[in-house]
């Protein structure tokens, strides 16, 4: 059952991911990306981590595509021009190289998924990982302030 679910999810993930990086229409690409991330949230559920799935759904599958759509509209980017031929070659080369990186890991077939409850994750986050957690919150604050300052229309 889980294998079937995995294959289904993985297939759609790949299809929409490829769509997201190849389609000429920017809006379509953004929507494909949202679907990809939504499906990845499903994969997190398969991995027994509903907390991650929820966060993935809220941040990557919702907030980011919406922001992307905004920026697409604000910059009037309807379409993305097609790649130059050398770019395709470079892209394929890079993709192949990435697969080479992962090649060695594919064989690890054994092991059991251990589900983790959102409670466990939360407790751990606020105990053992308290400092990184706070640092992450500061990072987000900085990013917010930075984005506001950068995007602000300058006087004159």
């Amino acid at each position: 059952m889980s294998l079937t679910a995995f294959y289904a999810l993985a297939a759609f993930v790949l299809v929409f991911a490829i769509l997201a990086v190849t389609t000429a229409s920017m809006v379509r690409a953004a929507l494909s990306l949202a679907i990809t991330f939504f499906l990845i949230a499903g994969l997190y559920l398969l991995l027994g981590s509903p907390a991650l799935a929820a966060i993935q759904f809220m941040v990557n599958a919702s907030a980011i595509p919406i922001m992307t759509l905004f920026i697409i509209m604000m910059t009037q980017s309807r379409t993305s021009a097609g790649p130059r031929s050398w770019q395709i070659a470079a892209g394929l080369l890079a993709a192949a190289a990435a697969l080479v990186f992962f090649k060695g890991n594919v064989g690890h077939g054994d092991g059991q998924i251990t589900p983790v409850s959102p409670e466990t994750l939360g407790v751990n986050l606020l105990q053992a990982a308290l400092l990184p957690f706070e640092v992450a919150s500061v990072l987000l604050l900085l990013a917010m302030v930075g984005a506001i300052v950068l995007a602000r229309r300058r006087a004159g």
């Binding site: 770019q87 470079a90 890079a94 190289a97 080479v100 990186f101």
Partner: protein, 667 residues
């Protein structure tokens, strides 16, 4: 507590005065900074007179009759006190308990006398400056400088260690530089201060080299040690000659001896009290004093004849040039050069005590003359003697005091210069007959230019100065100034009436006039050579009974009277006489082209190596730099294509880099 124990305050007090005036001078009202400085010098003068008293009481006494009879072994009438010469010593620059260079105050009779001279001259020059410098911008600074200068000069005289002499010597050089350029807005003053500093600094190199060499030879810098037989025995004749001459070069620079005299005339750009203090009475005498201190070494090295020749030539040279000048300060400057030449002549012909006597006498009467000229300039508003209007009538006090100084300078009995100069000439007659003739000729010219100055400035009505219009006074190539940059000295305003100077100034003049008379008599045979027997050192052939000197006295007086008479005869009739040919006057005015020669020759000498260096710079250094630039240009013409401006390409580089790391084994 004796004055000897207090003696370290003598240089210290003016130094403190300097600090005080530098820090707070600007906030002191009116003339108070001048009065404070004068008060400091008054205390110093009291201390140094007390010191002189202590020294006179402690010094050995001499039986004059035995001395005059040439019987030096039996001449000692009263043994000196056991701790004489006094010596105060402090540890300084101690390295692990061993004093590297001890701080020594050494007070023998000469040091005490010269200290008293410097303190007194400085006191009266301070007093004079209170009125003279009034209204001048930077009034407190002027007194601060005078204070530090006095401190340095006193420290130089009292130093028992040549290393400290050198330090004080250099401070004096600095103060001379600062004070010559005190009126720093005048371009001529700026150039003059540079000229003085560079010339004397060049000469000071001799002092340093000489001292270091001396240290290698005897292992210390001690002044008293140098005079001892044991020390001299350590030094070979050649080395002694070399060290002595090196130090003598420094003395020539400081005391403006030919050919290093070139700076002194331009130094007259400084305010008149500065000329009186530094460039007449004290600092320029420091060279003579130093040579006097190195006298044993020069004697040992058998090079005293060099000193004698330099001195005699300078004495004549300067005295001949002086009559070609119209600026009262410049005439006095030449006269100073000439009189310093006499002192070196005296040292060179074994007349050590006579030279020191002349040093003291000259200090007072030359300070008097310079201050008198300051009073004249102050009253007449010009420095040009032709533009001065019958000053005798308007400035009687100045006239009579100036006359005392002038008679002393000419060597008319019974004034100071007569006694001292004739002793020098007598010594020259004994040991170097030709130089005696040179000295006599110089004496003739001395009387001549002094009388000319007095007649034209004090007795004749004002007239348009013939020198100002003349072509040769335009520009000053020896100062590196073009025709338009050298400002002529200001003429007095139309209808200006000269007026007598203020009370402090007159008081200073009177005091110096009295002092120069006193010093003259103190050293004269009339009063038993008091000064000379006090500073008596070693062999003293110039001490002769007055009767034996009579021939010399008569000759000297006659020569002086001849010079004075000729000048009085010519210039009373017509101030513009004698009408020398233009080329001669121009040559004299341009100082026989010596300054220009130095300016050009030294300039060329300095430039020659720079041409070679320039070629090296252009074809070696620059070529290397160009090569480096060319190489990076070539490299960049290839590498710049990597910088395509397309981020995808950069991303690819990153990826390739990661791949390379992977392949290279970093996992």
């Amino acid at each position: 507590m004796s004055y000897v124990e207090l003696s370290y305050w003598i240089p210290l007090l003016p130094a403190l005065g300097f600090v005080l005036l530098v820090l707070f001078g600007r906030s002191l009202p009116g003339r108070s900074s001048g009065w404070i400085a004068t008060a400091v010098m008054a205390v110093v003068a009291v201390l140094s007179l007390g010191l002189l008293r202590d020294v006179i009481l402690a010094a050995p006494g001499w039986d004059l009759a035995a001395l005059l009879g040439g019987n030096h072994e039996e001449a000692l009438a009263k043994a000196g006190s056991p701790d004489f010469p006094f010596r105060l010593e402090w540890t300084w620059l101690a390295i692990r308990g061993e004093a590297g260079i001890p701080l020594v105050i050494y007070i023998d009779a000469l040091a005490a006398v010269v200290t008293a001279m410097v303190a007194l001259a400085s006191l009266f020059i301070h007093l004079f400056s209170i009125g003279y410098m009034h209204g001048e911008e930077r009034y407190p600074t002027f007194f601060a400088y005078l204070q530090l200068f006095s401190a340095a000069m006193l420290a130089f005289v009292l130093a028992g260690n040549f290393f400290h002499s050198l330090l004080a010597w250099e401070v004096m050089g600095l103060m001379s530089y600062l004070l010559i350029g005190f009126l720093y807005k005048k371009k001529t003053a700026q150039q003059a201060q540079k000229k003085a500093f560079i010339t004397t600094k060049l000469a000071d190199l001799g002092f340093m080299l000489g001292l270091f060499w001396l240290y290698l030879l005897i292992g210390n810098f001690d002044l008293a040690d140098l005079a001892s037989e044991q020390t001299l025995a350590l030094i070979g004749t050649g080395a002694a000659a070399a060290v002595g001459l090196l130090v003598f070069v420094a003395a020539m620079g400081k005391s403006a001896q030919f050919p290093l005299h070139v700076w002194l005339l331009d130094a007259m750009e400084g305010p008149t009290p500065v000329s009186a203090m530094i460039h007449a009475a004290t600092m320029v005498a420091a060279g003579v004093y130093l040579t006097g201190r190195f006298y044993p070494l020069l004697l040992h090295g058998e090079v005293l004849w060099v000193v004698a020749w330099v001195g005699a030539l300078t004495a004549l040279f300067a005295a001949v040039l002086a009559p070609a000048y119209a600026d009262v300060k410049k005439i006095l400057a030449w006269s100073t050069v000439s009189q310093l030449g006499y002192m070196f002549l005296g040292l060179g012909v074994f007349g050590w005590a006579a030279a020191m006597f002349h040093l003291l006498a000259h200090a007072f009467f030359k300070a008097l003359l310079f201050l008198g000229s300051g009073s004249m300039i102050h009253g007449a508003k010009t420095q040009d003697i032709f533009e001065m209007d019958r000053l005798k009538k308007y400035m009687p006090w100045t006239y009579w005091t100036f006359l005392v100084g002038a008679l002393a300078l000419m060597g008319i009995p019974p004034f100071a210069g007569f006694w001292s100069k004739d002793l020098i000439l007598h010594a020259a007659e004994e040991h170097a007959r030709f130089l005696w003739l040179v000295g006599l000729t110089a004496a003739f010219f001395t009387a001549f230019y002094t009388t000319r100055m007095i007649v034209i400035a004090f007795h004749k009505p004002a007239m348009p100065s013939p020198w100002k219009a003349a072509a040769w006074t335009q520009g000053a190539p020896w100062l590196n100034l073009g025709p338009n940059e050298a400002e002529p000295d200001p003429s007095p305003p139309e209808g200006h009436r000269p007026h007598e100077s203020g009370a402090e100034m007159i008081a200073a003049l009177l005091a110096l006039a009295v002092l120069s008379l006193v010093v003259g008599f103190w050293g004269s045979p009339v009063f038993g050579y008091g000064l000379l027997t006090l500073v008596y050192w070693g062999d003293a052939p110039e001490l002769l009974p007055a009767a034996k000197l009579m021939a010399g006295y008569v000759t000297g007086t006659l020569v002086a009277l001849a010079g004075a008479g000729l000048a009085a005869y010519w210039y009373t009739a017509d101030p513009l006489r004698p009408r020398a040919p233009v080329w001669l006057t121009a040559a004299l005015q341009r100082r026989l082209y010596l300054d220009e020669f130095f300016y050009r020759a030294l300039g060329a000498l300095a430039q020659a190596p720079t041409y070679a260096l320039e070629l090296f710079d252009r074809y070696v250094v620059d070529a290397l730099v160009d090569l480096v630039g060319y190489l990076s240009l070539v490299a960049s013409s290839f590498l710049r294509h990597l910088q395509s401006g397309r981020f995808a390409v950069y991303a690819l580089y990153m990826l390739l880099g990661a791949l390379a790391l992977y392949v290279g084994g970093v996992r």
